[in-house]
């Protein structure tokens, strides 16, 4: 990389400053893609590949690797062998994919790496390639809409004395937030899944587009959405990890948010939800802090197994159905039809007398972001009403 920068500097020195800048500004040379294919929206801004076909839902990959012996694409549990041309450029076309966002990797001689054509998305504890498979009308709710007002996502570090570290959060505030300087807002705490981080909901989930749309349409209350990290370890200066997220959320994060933003601070105006492991963390946090939360949601993350009976799971949250019904306004349980189903547990909870459950299945989706975009789009309108 440094080499490229140096080449630029040398060219500057050679005096063709303006030609060079003009070239950069024009971007790279025009590339003709096969009929029906367009660059994926998840590509870096100069990359025509990977390209996606909105009709066939196929993805076309291209990797420049003249010195490699074997190159593959690993996408949605299938490895595709790529074919090399005489210039060392490898290509392949995938099977049709489910719409929405998928992580993928390139295998260079068997070593899994990120595709340099892709933006970076943190998943499985490393910076991954990602590809957005486009679709028709459904996708509009998670796309940028220029005709409505937009909220802001604020990047902030707060200090956790439990963790002993500064911790990064993203906080969505609705479009009206700054035009209503005396208004206070309810708060949704929204947690990512295993191997992802606090940027997942904004980058992979497009949560700002979803919330902007719901609020503009009057479907959801204007609310603040706080997206923390569900991991206790972080690395600014590499100090030791400590504490647990439930305590950090309840005792460091909630007070920080209430101090920093114009929030409604009673439990009727505080919700928490998460996907996968974040759903588990939601159940742990809400059950241990019922004085602080009155709404909860778990997307692909509701598990009651092993020695966790309905009576003992999550600090006994469900032991007394009447108490639960009195305390909690909503338990939303979302899942994809192509992943393990929590339906039996939901039925058991209902049979036990637990009310205010909304159970929802996302048709045709697995443990993936389309399931969770849909879940947020359904869940947020139910809150604070």
């Amino acid at each position: 990389m440094k080499k490229v920068t140096l080449v630029l500097v040398v060219m500057l020195l050679a005096g063709n400053l303006f030609a060079q800048f003009a070239g950069v500004m024009r971007g790279q040379q025009t590339v003709t893609l096969p009929e029906g294919f367009k660059p994926a929206s998840t590509n870096t801004f100069l990359s025509p590949y990977p390209a996606v076909n909105a009709q066939t839902k196929q993805a076309l990959f291209k990797v420049v690797a003249p010195t490699a012996n074997k190159v593959q694409v690993d996408l949605c549990n299938k490895k595709y062998d790529m074919t090399k041309d005489d210039k060392g450029v490898w290509t392949c076309t995938s099977d049709p994919q489910v719409v929405g966002f998928h992580y993928y990797a390139i295998l260079i001689d068997g070593v899994a790496v990120m595709d340099r054509n892709s933006e970076a998305f943190f998943g499985s504890n490393w910076e991954s390639s990602g590809i957005e498979i486009p679709e028709g009308p459904e996708g509009d709710y998670y796309r940028f809409n220029n005709t409505i007002p937009h909220g802001q996502i604020r990047s902030i570090y707060y200090w956790s004395d439990i963790n002993g570290l500064e911790r990064h959060i993203n906080v969505y505030v609705p479009a009206e937030y700054e035009q209503q300087p005396n208004k206070r807002y309810p708060v949704l705490y929204l947690v990512h899944g295993w191997g992802e981080d606090e940027n997942g909901w904004s980058n992979q989930g497009h949560m700002a587009n979803i919330m902007d749309g719901l609020i503009a349409a009057g479907k959801a209350e204007p609310m603040i959405v706080v997206m923390p990290s569900g991991d206790i370890k972080t690395n600014p200066d590499v100090r030791e990890a400590k504490g647990d997220v439930t305590q950090i959320f309840a005792n460091n994060l909630v007070p920080y948010i209430d101090k920093t933003f114009r929030t409604k601070t009673d439990r009727q105006n505080r919700a928490m939800a998460g996907l996968s492991r974040g759903g588990f963390q939601t159940c742990m946090t809400v059950s241990a802090n019922q004085d602080k939360f009155a709404w909860m949601g778990t997307f692909s993350g509701f598990f009651l197994r092993g020695d966790n009976s309905l009576d003992t799971a999550f600090n006994g949250l469900f032991k007394d159905a009447d108490a639960f019904n009195k305390q909690m306004n909503l338990l939303y349980i979302g899942t994809g039809t192509e992943e393990n189903s929590p339906k039996a547990q939901v039925e058991a909870l209902k049979a036990k007398g637990i009310k205010n459950i909304v159970y929802s299945e996302s048709q045709g989706t697995a443990h993936e972001w389309l399931t969770w975009r849909r879940a947020l789009n359904e869940f947020a309108p139910l809150l604070f009403k």
Copy 2:
């Protein structure tokens, strides 16, 4: 990557939910690093490698690639051959490095890829690995300081009718911004360099830490800092790039910022600066919009060459020294001592009668982020006074 997620799900199904979560929360197994080495602050939160030695300024790299034939690290214009152990783990230790941030790449059988141990930093038009070499007291100004108030970085999309695209910006607001609902602030527009993007100043540059420190110490006026993209092409839905950044900045971005934030809107309260190509864009934008800007800075990006005489460069900005001196409060020109020097041009400008120039050399640094962190730390205190 998908494979890892699936393994997790399978383990959940197997019933050992809590053991799995506990394992994830504990992070990976303890790794013993060589004496004096610590994980780099630029690593993903679970990665002990690359490790850096604060005394020797060396970096120690480790790559797991059992199936590769040759693995190298490409760091600051030198390729280091890595050595493979019997488990397929490759290691090497670098020469001493300049403190601050450096991009690097891993070469797997000759193919340049990102190190999966590193956070992603957008440079040279792709998501790159980066490593922060720690240092002593000087670095404190760009590190997180828990004893002072912190501003927020806001992630926003604005619409450019010139570009025909939604464009992403990051906007820093000072810590006091929300506690002073009737106060208006001056604005600095701060642009990245070639191959980087609007996240460069916050991710690689640590600009929030720098501004927080300057403002808390009373050295800089509380100000809003707008960080736009200096490239015209972006890729949400892959529409055509059009327009030029100077016009987009002046006619779309400035009005959007003045509408959206509590800004002081006169030229005396608007500054622009940029690094490398962003310095060039600053000169182009300010010279064409002197009714809008009264302060300017260019960090490693002041070039007058070829047919650009002092009289014709940048829309004739310097042609009439008296007019320039009357119009512009500051022209800050920063550079590293280890890169091409603009000193001759600075002397020529002074000889021509151009005043209000501050010329500054960063000792021992090249075309790299420590040069630009230092420049911002010097430049911001000079503004709006």
